[in-house]
């Protein structure tokens, strides 16, 4: 009874559990414009799933998989999928696991070339969002949602979906084992010390560790955005891509189920009050008070539906530095990254740019 009263009080004033406040970007996450100033490596629409293979950069653009060898002028398409490619994993020995949205995962190259993973015990692979080769025969697969395809991620967020899961697939034997279920859109998988794996749980804006302990164990919480891919860094830490910012108005709208339902039914997804990979293209998108241009200038700290953010995490999964593209920038929606030739390449899926963020070795010098 006291709890119910306190809930009503909190709901009226927007405090406690009903708070819409968003963590501030400060300390290692202090905003800068490094993504805007970075050199462009290549550009293709919806550039995603960066990976480094045999001295070449691999990336997907819609349904096509491209390969850009070092020193080449333009990337060459190497494969076309029947649907947009939501995830790509490479094992460093020639094998690739390529996701196909709404369909499943295809293995190309290596020992299990031609394998197609279409269903698990729980149902069809509707939404493969990340994959990781533990060794040649074991693949970790993250499914973002059991209801919506990867391209419908916005619908899953606004429906407060929690139907994601992580599976360990034994490619040799063909068996798939559920590692964790009921996750809120796992979007990135990386190996942790021991036999554990780190998952970025997007809608809960946190990173959890699965493995030795029963159930997910939260290692990094309170991110100011929705995390995407986690990539193990050669320095021992991790690279975290954050594909969209958290916004106070979106947090508020998520609590208003009535409005959400009507908005999802009546309004096209590009114009929802929801995060986006890129914003500002159309005047039909929602605008917030701080986003009004004065004297022709959009303030960099304006509340935004899209943002560019790459974070470097250390061994203990704590942020140590970050690259940003602020509200008035263009390089938003960074969803993937890879290390290539000693340099960090990040892919901004919003405008479709791959950016060179600098040499990797240089960062080691700052860590003790």
């Amino acid at each position: 009874m006291i709890a119910a009263l306190r809930d009503r009080f909190d709901a009226f004033f927007g405090r406690g559990r009903f708070s819409t406040s968003v963590p501030v970007m400060d300390g290692p996450l202090q905003p800068n414009q490094l993504l805007e100033e970075a050199e462009v490596v290549v550009t293709r629409p919806a550039l995603d799933n960066l990976a480094s293979v045999d001295g070449a950069v691999l990336f997907s653009s819609g349904e096509d998989l491209f390969r850009l060898p070092r020193g080449a002028a333009a990337p060459a398409p190497i494969w076309r999928a029947p649907a947009p490619i939501p995830c790509v994993a490479v094992d460093g020995a020639g094998a690739m696991a390529i996701g196909v949205d709404g369909v499943g995962i295809d293995i190309r190259g290596g020992r299990h070339d031609g394998r197609q993973i279409r269903t698990f015990v729980s149902g069809p692979l509707v939404c493969p969002t990340a994959a990781l080769f533990v060794d040649e025969d074991t693949l970790i697969v993250a499914l973002g949602s059991a209801e919506f395809e990867a391209a419908e991620w916005k619908r899953d967020l606004m429906s407060r979906g929690r139907s994601g899961s992580v599976w360990r697939v034994d490619l040799a034997g063909g068996k798939a084992e559920l590692v964790a279920g009921g996750l809120a859109f796992p979007y990135g998988v990386a190996r942790a010390p021991g036999n554990d794996i780190l998952i970025s749980e997007a809608w809960e804006h946190r990173i959890v560790r699965l493995g030795s302990q029963p159930g997910p164990h939260v290692v990094l919480d309170g991110l100011p955005g929705y995390p995407a891919r986690l990539i193990a860094a050669s320095t021992g830490g991790y690279w975290l891509c954050v594909f969209a910012p958290r916004n106070q108005l979106v947090e508020f709208v998520l609590k208003e189920r009535d409005f959400c339902g009507r908005m999802m039914a009546d309004v096209p997804p590009n114009y929802w009050i929801a995060p986006a990979l890129v914003s500002g293209a159309s005047f039909k998108e929602p605008l917030q008070g701080g986003g009004v241009k004065q004297m022709g200038i959009l303030k960099p700290w304006a509340p935004a539906r899209s943002y560019g953010l790459v974070v470097e995490l250390d061994r203990d999964v704590h942020p140590v530095r970050s690259w940003h593209s602020r509200a008035d920038g263009k390089m938003h929606g960074v969803s993937s990254a890879c290390e290539h030739g000693g340099r960090l390449i990040a892919g901004a899926k919003g405008p479709g740019y791959a950016l060179d963020l600098g040499a990797v070795q240089g960062f080691v010098a700052e860590l003790a």
């Binding site: 108005l249 009535d258 409005f259 309004v267 005047f283 929602p286 605008l287």
Partner: protein
């Protein structure tokens, strides 16, 4: 519209949610706390000890009120000025001694005795005032010292004077009547006190000295900077307190007829409790006679009630002490949080369902289709003018506009390189037009309707209109006069966009979409101002049509242009002319007999949906910070040309948003279109294909130059 929608619309149209916010914004809203405290105390004691409210007891209470009330008024005047007067008890005692000595011992007339008492009170107050006002000593310590000093003077004289007062008899019939007479059941002393209370209420709330007092208490440094003589205001506050103590003492002396050693002891604590319970702020700047009186009644009822219950004096004091503590706590928290509460309660959204949005996609074939027609706009005054809402061009081709510093600036023809300040008006100059005599008539947001003569003299035409009967906010004031147009007979029709929001937060009116605007007519022939149409949803642009009988006006958040007939057979009618995919702003004439309207922003489906859900918007304004609120998209605009029959002739966009992302007004002159935007840092000039190269606005309205 579905049944649910109709129900929602009716509920939000007729249930006055906005009243809560408006009441909170009033000065007398604070009285609610004191009133509630009074009601609680009275009801508790009525239940516990009903006899307390018999006629005889009430008469007694009224008599006590006449003294305490007056002293409380004086005390609160000092507190409003930011000080405190702890010596009221001693001054009261000295004045009572003076009046009784004068009446009983010296056997003087009442008027002379009263004059002498008032002088004593004024002298005591003046001592406080000089020390605190002119020598700038600390109020608390100084009045503590004068408390002790005056009480010592009293103690010196009381042994000698006390018995002589009791032995003597006064020589005045009026004195008897004042002490014990009554009229209509009320003692005369209460009537005298009521007259003083009313007089001081008027002075404090409606006269300049009263406002100066509150200004000094609210912010001493700002009052000094504004030119108020702070020292003399503080001095007069203390002197007034002394004089009021004297008046109270006269009434007390008339009732009691004698004094003792403990006359006035502890009065300052009682009055301090009364005044703080009433809601007069300890920090200064806030307070009124009503608050002082309500607090006095509350504390007197409490005090008398405790005595009637045979509670010992010291226990009663302790209880009063706790009451004072509670009152101070409430006062501090109220002062700290009142603005927060007001901000979160003020926005009162209403229901608005817009018709389907006209298509704007570039390949849709719709007359509103997006294009890049304004790509080659030339900039005027780039970076030199901030917020030119409405450009105006005179017959010589000079371009005028307002800016956000409150100037009307002018760019000289033909190259517009020279910019000069034509007139400084203050406020936010918005819509402008020339009248028949060449005066520049301008609507200034925050001020009203003004005019700049050709000799550059700024003249106020009107800044108030008739007040509506049931509005809590004083809507006789013009809060956001937006655009105007001048009829053929010189009558000026102008729009007041919203009486609840002003020039710096006008987009919040979209979150309300309540119909807070009106159309007003100023007639220069008899200098009258009259509201012509009310409950319009952000009326904005105004343009008189060629037929001299009607005008077109825009309702921004309702995304439509209407036509209003002010003359002729259809007089008084309003008809919708045009439904738009965005928010119309200023409307002006085109050279071919049609009209230009600027769209200051474009509709978006999420906001359109939110406008049909007022409870959602209300929760948003309460739970989300204002910088994150959903806003109308005023980052993009366009220009539409239309006929008065509602046919769209063309739409012109700046697709890249580089030159004119938002447009609030366009005016045509000699084949070119001049563009302005209230958030832009430039004016624009664009060649209109096929326009009459000799057409000018002033000629179209008033004929060729005479």
């Amino acid at each position: 519209m579905s049944v649910a929608d109709t129900l929602t619309r009716v509920r939000y149209r007729y249930f006055p949610d906005h009243v809560v916010g408006e009441v909170l914004s009033k000065r007398w809203a604070d009285n609610a706390i004191a009133f509630v405290a009074l009601v609680v105390v009275v009801s508790v004691f009525a239940v516990v000890n009903g006899r307390m409210f018999s006629i005889a007891q009430l008469n007694d209470l009224a008599g006590q009120m006449s003294e305490y009330g007056l002293v409380a008024i004086g005390f609160s005047i000092v507190m409003i000025s930011g000080g405190i007067d702890l010596s009221v008890g001693s001054v009261f005692a000295l004045c009572t001694m003076m009046v009784l000595v004068a009446m009983n011992v010296w056997q003087q007339e009442l008027w002379l005795a009263a004059l002498e008492t008032l002088c004593v009170g004024a002298l005591c107050g003046a001592i406080n005032g000089i020390l605190i006002g002119y020598f700038r000593l600390r109020a608390f310590l100084t009045t503590l010292i004068t408390l002790i000093s005056f009480r010592s003077v009293y103690d010196i004289f009381i042994p000698d004077v006390g018995t002589r007062i009791v032995l003597g008899t006064p020589n005045s019939a009026i004195w008897e009547v004042l002490g014990s007479g009554s009229v209509g059941g009320l003692p005369y002393s209460v009537l005298v006190a009521a007259v003083f209370a009313l007089a001081f209420h008027v002075v404090l709330s409606r006269t300049r000295p009263g406002w100066h007092l509150a200004a000094v208490g609210g912010s001493r440094r700002s009052a000094f900077n504004a030119g108020i003589n702070v020292r003399s205001v503080v001095f007069s506050a203390y002197m007034t307190s002394g004089i009021l103590c004297a008046v109270a003492a006269i009434l007390y002396g008339a009732q009691l007829g004698s004094i003792g050693n403990d006359t006035g002891v502890g009065l300052e604590m009682l009055v301090l409790t009364a005044v703080v319970v009433g809601g007069v702020s300890l920090g200064g700047g806030r307070g009124s006679v009503a608050k002082a009186l309500m607090g006095s009644v509350t504390v007197l009822v409490l005090n008398n009630g405790l005595q009637a219950l045979s509670i010992q004096g010291s226990t009663a004091s302790m209880i009063l002490g706790f009451v004072l503590l509670g009152a101070v706590f409430v006062d501090v928290r109220w002062v700290k949080n009142k603005n927060k509460l007001l901000n979160s309660a003020y926005v009162s959204p209403a229901f608005l369902k817009l018709p389907a949005c006209p298509e704007t996609a570039s390949d849709s074939g719709s007359p509103f289709a997006v294009n890049d027609a304004l790509r080659d706009v030339e900039a005027i005054g780039l970076g030199r003018v901030e917020g030119p809402e409405d450009p105006l061009i005179d017959r010589d081709g000079n371009v005028y506009s307002g800016n956000r510093q409150g100037d009307i600036v002018r760019f000289l023809a033909p190259d517009f390189r020279t910019m000069e300040v034509y007139a400084h008006t203050g406020g936010s100059p918005l819509g402008m037009n020339f009248d028949r005599e060449g005066n520049l008539v301008v609507c200034i947001g925050g001020m009203g309707l003004y005019m700049v003569t050709p000799q550059r003299e700024v003249v106020k035409l009107t800044d108030e209109t008739n007040r509506s009967k049931f509005s809590i906010i004083d809507d006789s004031r013009l809060r956001l006069a937006d655009d105007l147009d001048i009829a053929h007979d010189g009558r000026i029709f102008f729009s007041e966009a919203s009486y609840r929001y002003s020039a710096h937060d006008w987009p919040v009116d979209c979150l309300e979409s309540r119909g807070n605007g009106r159309l007003i007519c100023y007639d220069p022939r008899d200098k009258s101002t009259r509201t012509v149409l009310a409950n319009l949803i952000f009326p904005n642009g105004m343009c008189c049509t060629q037929d001299k009988e009607s005008l077109l006006f825009a309702e921004s958040w309702a995304c439509r242009v209407n036509r209003y007939w002010f003359d002729g057979p259809k007089r008084g009618k309003v008809e919708q002319v045009l439904a738009l995919p965005g928010y119309p702003d200023n409307i002006n004439r085109a050279s071919d007999g049609n009209y230009w309207v600027a769209l200051v922003g474009m509709r978006g489906p999420s906001l359109d949906l939110a406008l049909t859900m007022p409870a959602f918007r209300k929760r948003m304004t309460r739970q989300v910070a204002p910088a994150n609120w959903l806003f109308p998209n005023i980052n993009t605009g366009c220009v539409v040309k239309f006929t008065d029959r509602g046919e769209v002739l063309g739409t012109y966009w700046d697709l890249g948003g580089l030159n004119h992302p938002m447009v609030t007004s366009v005016k045509e002159h000699k084949g070119y279109l001049y563009l302005g935007g209230v958030s832009n840092n430039r004016l624009g000039k664009w060649k209109v294909p096929g326009a009459d190269p000799s057409w000018t606005g002033p000629d179209s309205y008033w004929g060729p130059r005479s």
